[in-house]
Subunit: 323 residues, 4 copies
């Protein structure tokens, strides 16, 4: 309603109404980001997390977990294309992929667009989030029905430690390391070294979302995740992209014991060969720009000394359910 400015001035009251309901997120203690709301589609709580699906005016449907925006309809493609395609494209022939987390389904959706991939394991601890997203995020409906996808409800660490299968790509699509949140132990050096790496096939690539990567925010966890992965893998590439609904630049880090070197043309060529449909955000030049970090961030990453361990964790703003 009220998207049209009528000639008789009706827009005034519609404007009035348009602005009366708001979603408000604390990006930091002193910084708020507020979206006008069309509606609150669903709310719920699982054993682990509070879940809400909001219909926001600026960014469409938005999945909010524990009061933090996870994913917004209009720009989640940036996050998920960046998380999935760089590592998968850098792999010469990726067949099977393990997703830690990813209950929303969008990571699986992007993976399943690759014609080389014949198995995707999505391992999320929170069945209710998975069911919630399956029900409400129609964009991922096809992915959830794809026979190549296997959903496991379990702690990703436990699942990786218990199993024996090895993967071409392992994807960390976990919540940010938040104090008390369920995920911070899955960003540590020992986890990468003793749990993740042994489950990669030779030539395998690990990628993880790596938190805010803005000129000020990249020191929260991005630089530390980068440095931690450098302790475990020979080749590590950090890259970033602006996600409007997050009000910040976001970061990802991919890592392997094999070189991660493709130029823009090679990336474009592999995209054409392997990916069904066209990417909305990522192409070769975009990745080239995304992986050329700005001076401050590049220097921070080069000079970071912090290594993520359970004893020396870093957290970003917010509190998880068990804080």
């Amino acid at each position: 309603m009220g998207e049209v400015a009528l000639s008789n001035g009706q827009s005034h009251s519609l404007n009035g109404y348009r602005k009366s309901c708001w979603y408000e997120e604390e990006i930091e203690d002193n910084l708020r980001w507020c979206f006008a709301l069309n509606s609150i589609l669903h709310t719920g709580a699982s054993q682990y997390q509070d879940i809400a699906l909001l219909d926001t005016k600026p960014f469409g449907k938005a999945l909010v977990i524990d009061g933090k925006l996870q994913s917004a309809e209009t720009d989640e493609f940036i996050y998920h294309e960046c998380l999935v395609h760089p590592p998968v494209l850098h792999h010469p022939n990726p067949k099977n992929v393990f997703i830690m987390g990813g209950g929303e389904g969008s990571t699986a959706r992007e993976l399943l667009r690759h014609n080389t991939i014949d198995q995707v394991i999505m391992c999320d601890i929170d069945e209710e989030v998975v069911d919630f997203c399956k029900s409400y995020l129609v964009a991922n409906g096809e992915a959830f029905c794809d026979p190549r996808l296997k959903v496991i409800i379990n702690d990703a660490r436990a699942e990786l430690e218990a199993g024996e299968e090895r993967y071409d790509v392992i994807v960390g699509d976990l919540a940010d390391p938040i104090d008390g949140g369920p995920c911070y132990k899955l960003y540590t050096k020992s986890f990468y070294e003793f749990t993740v790496k042994p489950r990669l096939k030779e030539g395998g690539i690990f990628v993880t979302q790596a938190g805010p990567a803005g000129i000020f925010s990249h020191t929260e966890v991005f630089s530390s995740i980068y440095n931690t992965l450098k302790q475990v893998f020979k080749y590590v590439v950090a890259y970033s992209a602006h996600i409007p609904s997050y009000a910040d630049i976001w970061g990802w880090v991919m890592a392997s014991d094999f070189p991660l070197e493709l130029n823009a043309e090679e990336i474009d060529m592999r995209m054409r060969e392997r990916i069904k449909g066209e990417n909305r955000y990522l192409d070769g030049k975009t990745f080239s720009s995304a992986s050329t970090l700005s001076k401050v961030v590049r220097n921070s990453l080069d000079n970071e000394t912090h290594v993520y361990t359970e004893e020396a964790a870093r957290f970003i703003h917010g509190h998880g359910k068990h804080a």
Copy 2:
């Protein structure tokens, strides 16, 4: 944060979530009143107005029309008891009542609690509001089904001018006089004199909601409505009550050509005799207090010279759909 640290830690994240969605109303240009939201139950737009039903944390379900809170579940009883019972109780034997507006149904509900009343006409211009409230405001469901109630969809002025029936009580349950809103012409001297008064039986009483009546806000329209009614009726009584969800004192004015004199005990006695169930807000002492205005307000009303006409209207903050 974490005042009550529950053993399972839920307080943190619930707190976080509890505060993420808000309804925000501009009481004045420089003053906002914000309710945390559980959900946005329904939104819609009629030919005349934008309508929304919100589920708010502090005040329960709230009906919002054109971006202004009309009625909140937890405290609408204050408004509706004050609008209905004083005039009806002051009448010796009220049989039939005409409601101008009142589409929400709560005014009818309070009227129908009176055992002397055998006919209530509710005349609201906006069929969609009536239908909306009939569907969603369960508290008024019984009233909407009462055979004594007759709902007419029409402009109240046109209806009163076209008809010939006379009433014991006429109730003005209209939106505030807002610039461009549908209602400001129903607060004028000529309307009261030539449309309302001729349709009252001998001994009949008119009552109207009369806008904010706070120590600063009563000069917006309350004093003027009072003074306007004084030009038309011999006896005029203004009274007020605090309505928490409005963040202000609210005012009503009743008027008649017969004396409006009942003491607290007489009011209590008539309540017991005539009203089904017990009032939550109003009793004799409460009305006595409510009709004893504070010094500033009393003086303003006594000294008000403004008379409401179509040419010299006063408006409260906000814009109607046709502004």
Copy 3:
């Protein structure tokens, strides 16, 4: 937008600017009250409390302590006239008065308007608040210079316990009982019984501000303070008034072992005889209305069983510095 379209178009940008800075107070967890700001005049912190003086658009200069509005320029007269004049007028010949708290100076200002009073002791624990208010609240400048006023920096309880002087009126102008705040122990039965009452002369009257007294909020502390005083004094009168900047009705309770019975005319007469200048809020009829509580509140007070002790305290929303 553009209500008053000035020929030079200034309204647009002024509107824009007018709304860009806000003071926001959490009335409750789920309820916010927001004032547009002209400026932040001063901020500071004492040993006990955070202090800020804001220039707000809707309510003028506002004193904020620990994130809670204490007093706003445009309507503090309501609070202070209600706190001071009822007990002082009910006393036949008040000479000396002890204020617990009151560092803002407005309570002293109202007391010093009484021509019978020859000594006012203001005992506030926080020297910085007193100095801050002395410097910035010009309306109280004359009071601070009155030779009848003596300011003591001390804990009011310690001061009352250490001294021997007796008073005609003791005024509790303390912060609300907030968990961790400095004041909640000064609302207990034992404090009233063993500290306050012994320091009243025969015929002496105690009065205290008593927190929010709205139809929902009066059960937070108002009813309990009323009931606690009923355990200690023979005659107890509760009254309330709407304070716009508080977004609620506020309550006060006065108590004595002598009857507190003046009708409206007697109050008006004593005001004329004893008070310099004219009250803005309170007169006889206003007090009559203010002390006739509405049905719900009256019943709650009559039926309250909670007695305030250090072990069984009640708190209103918010956190003091030592929570």
Copy 4:
């Protein structure tokens, strides 16, 4: 105050206080960006614009004109380094520079760091903004005193049309093209063609800030400014950077009739040779990344057909004083 979490839990109330005053900006109708405030340092209004200097918690001192954040202490270096250094470095030997607007002084400051530059003309229409910034923005104090800087108070277009001097670099540091704002006519093809270009020396370079350049927002004016400059100059380079306080990616466009081709190493070398002190944001690799736009933005710019004229202007959200 309140940056430290004291062992006795004092942080609670400080937290409370820290969040009570906010600056709120409407990025779009449905999107707000809110900074906690330390104080409102100065407010004022010139003939053209409303001006405020705020002390914000997340971004330090912030200059707000007509309700839009112009510049924040903690990250204005990103904007100003991006505006100034790319064009100046691409010029083989820049001597004199004309700034359209730039009253804040930061653009002049960055220009004056170049050792080849011997004259900077800053031509701003609003003397009060210039004086305001001279007084309050201490970081630019040195620049305002540099004898190479000449400040002219005039409309930049009138000044350029009236004069005859030619410049090596002309910098457009104007407010965004806002409906009713003073600046939108300085983004048109005819202005670039008939006013700007004739005042460039041979080999001269024009640069302009070009509004938001995010994945959604770049179509507001960025793509159009790029395309408009392509109609007038042979070589046009668009680039962008995230500015945290703007909550978006920002864009700049530089244009010349001579090739604009330097690789990252050449940029770094010229920086070392010509710029006093070290850049905080920009170096060769950063510019390389900044000028490699992401797929969507690149395609939009390539396919943009809109040309900015006075008759066919595009505006970004907000209203200037003369709207």
